[in-house]
């Protein structure tokens, strides 16, 4: 059981899974104990119900779903708080900059 769970969502979960690999490498080198995974936006609901997620990041190409996700994540976090949500920066996403996106997630988690 990792200390934190970070979920990434995009259209099909394909390109985001590439970013996950890079983020995991960044987490390892910074000794952060985090479970990071990617899935299609359509599968997000199931994961939110099944496990405790600490942070959700949307790929820039599905940023239009943000309002929806705000509703989805309300009250689903630890102790009934909202799960923090962010949209991944386009540049960081394109360059698959794992460290930068991980930093974004950490900032959201540590609020």
């Amino acid at each position: 059981m990792a200390k934190q769970t970070i979920m990434l969502n995009c259209a099909a979960g394909m390109s985001t899974s590439l970013l996950v690999t890079k983020m995991q490498q960044a987490a390892e080198s910074q000794e952060i104990d985090a479970k990071i995974f990617a899935c299609a936006a359509g599968e997000a609901d199931a994961h939110i119900e099944q496990e405790q997620i600490d942070c959700v990041l949307l790929g820039p190409q599905v940023s239009y779903m943000k309002d929806d996700f705000v509703k989805k994540l309300a009250g689903k976090g630890a102790a009934g708080a909202d799960i923090p949500l962010g949209v991944i920066d386009m540049q960081a996403y394109g360059l698959m900059d794992g460290a930068k996106v991980l930093a974004q997630a950490e900032a959201l988690i540590n609020g």
Partner: protein, 437 residues
């Protein structure tokens, strides 16, 4: 450079509008439903490939005929139930997207409602005689498959809407008092909306049959499915819609918002009819279909960016361009190109937005031309969109070697077309760097 366009309020408004429309719950549910039954279509594609391409290479005569029974059965369970599968899938995804507590109930009622719309009398051909006869007491693949795809979607959406709405009416809830276990009351409470929804659909079906001598499936095919299909899958229609979708991606919004909604349903109908015809050794009806568009208009991902990656390797001078292209090459071989779109970037980068939108059009036109003159086989196999370039063209056309040449020709033209824009883009970003410093 990018900033100007990104902060332009008209552009912002346009992309917000598209995002809102694409995210509309019914349209989203439709796309989710297609995603849900996609494995069936891929299975049909693999079945077609083995059955009609690989088996005939290896076997002849009675052995081949015996083996091909297997492929026919796969067709029956995939293409021939496309509409039947879409109705519950659409009901399920809509109920889920509306946060209805029991999406499976919506799926079941959608399935029931679709079957209620099926005609009483169907025309079938006897195995021993080619003359069609009218029979009763059955469902035919003709009505459960491709031709009821739209009916499946429409009935699934309507039945689920009605079902959820009826379920939300307080007056329809039965109050059995607090002595009765709550679950007993619950079971009644979902039964009433189900009964009313089913009754309404059966009534519509009965009215159409008695007074119109028709059924909803035929009506939807005639009034909605065929007009939409014939425009959206015509060469100008599909290129126009496809280009709008691709243009949206240059503003950072995934193209499926447009293409998945307007093109995929009708292109899949063409795809399925082609696969069915090819499996039955009949004339293949359509040039334009889902895999045709993906294979020749999306080489290496939306915008045919594999051409851009090669162009960058050939003419780019900036280290950053080459780094992103290098990073994007392997995902690009599987048609995944977000690193290029957001990292290069193509988004809000006017010099690259032009070829990104136009190269797919060029590719599709070239492929359409070679298919129309009969030099290249029509696309008859549904392949997963992650199939690598060149291999994709070969497999999609049922193993036509000429398709490889057409694909390579499109890639070469695409590289030449992207080249000048790579140079312009680098010049613009160099100027911007000077201005910023």
């Amino acid at each position: 450079m990018e900033g100007n366009l990104q902060n332009n309020s008209a552009v912002q408004k346009f992309s917000n509008f598209c995002g809102k429309v694409g995210n509309e719950v019914h349209l989203r549910s439709l796309r989710d439903a297609f995603a849900m039954i996609m494995p069936l279509f891929i299975l049909a594609g693999v079945g077609t490939l083995i059955n009609s391409v690989i088996f005939p290479w290896l076997f002849k005569g009675q052995t081949l005929a015996n083996l091909q029974v297997w492929g026919t059965l796969i067709s029956n369970g995939t293409l021939n139930i496309a509409g039947l599968a879409l109705a519950p899938a659409t009901g399920f995804t809509l109920a889920k997207n509306k946060n209805y507590k029991n999406p499976m109930a919506a799926a079941i009622i959608s399935l029931a409602a679709l079957i209620m719309m099926m005609p009483q009398k169907i025309s079938l051909t006897l195995a021993t005689n080619a003359k069609p006869v009218d029979v009763t007491g059955g469902l035919s693949y003709a009505n459960l498959g491709t031709s009821s795809m739209f009916s499946g979607i429409i009935v699934g959406l309507l039945a689920t809407e009605l079902f959820i709405w009826l379920g939300s009416i307080k007056k329809l809830k039965i109050n059995l008092g607090d002595k009765v276990p709550p679950m007993v009351g619950e079971s009644f409470n979902s039964m009433i909306p189900s009964i009313l929804t089913a009754s309404a659909f059966a009534l519509v079906g009965a009215l159409l049959a008695v007074f119109g001598q028709t059924d909803l499936i035929s009506l939807i095919v005639k009034i909605i499915q065929e007009p939409l299909r014939s425009f959206n899958t015509s060469l100008p229609g599909s290129l126009f819609i496809y280009s709008i979708g691709n243009f949206l991606f240059t503003l950072g919004i995934h193209q499926t918002v447009v293409n998945g909604t307007l093109l995929d349903p009708v292109l899949l109908i063409n795809m399925n009819k082609n696969m069915a015809a090819y499996n039955a050794h009949k004339a293949v009806p359509y040039i334009m279909n889902k895999t045709f568009l993906d294979t020749f208009g999306m080489i290496g991902g939306t915008g045919s960016t594999i051409c851009l990656i090669i162009a960058v390797f050939l003419v780019a001078k900036q280290k950053s361009s080459k780094t992103v292209a290098g990073l994007s090459l392997v995902p690009g071989l599987f048609n995944i190109n977000e690193p290029m779109i957001f990292g290069f970037p193509i988004v809000f980068n006017i010099p690259l937005m032009i070829p990104f939108v136009l190269q797919p059009v060029i590719g599709i036109l070239i492929a359409y031309f070679f298919t129309a003159i009969g030099w290249m086989s029509r696309v008859v196999v549904y392949i997963p969109w992650v199939t690598p370039p060149v291999l994709s063209a070969f497999l999609a056309t049922g193993g036509d070697w000429r398709a490889i040449f057409v694909h390579l020709l499109i890639i070469v033209i695409g590289v030449l077309f992207y080249m000048p824009f790579v140079k312009i883009s680098e010049r613009v970003s160099a100027q911007n760097a000077v201005v910023e410093n």
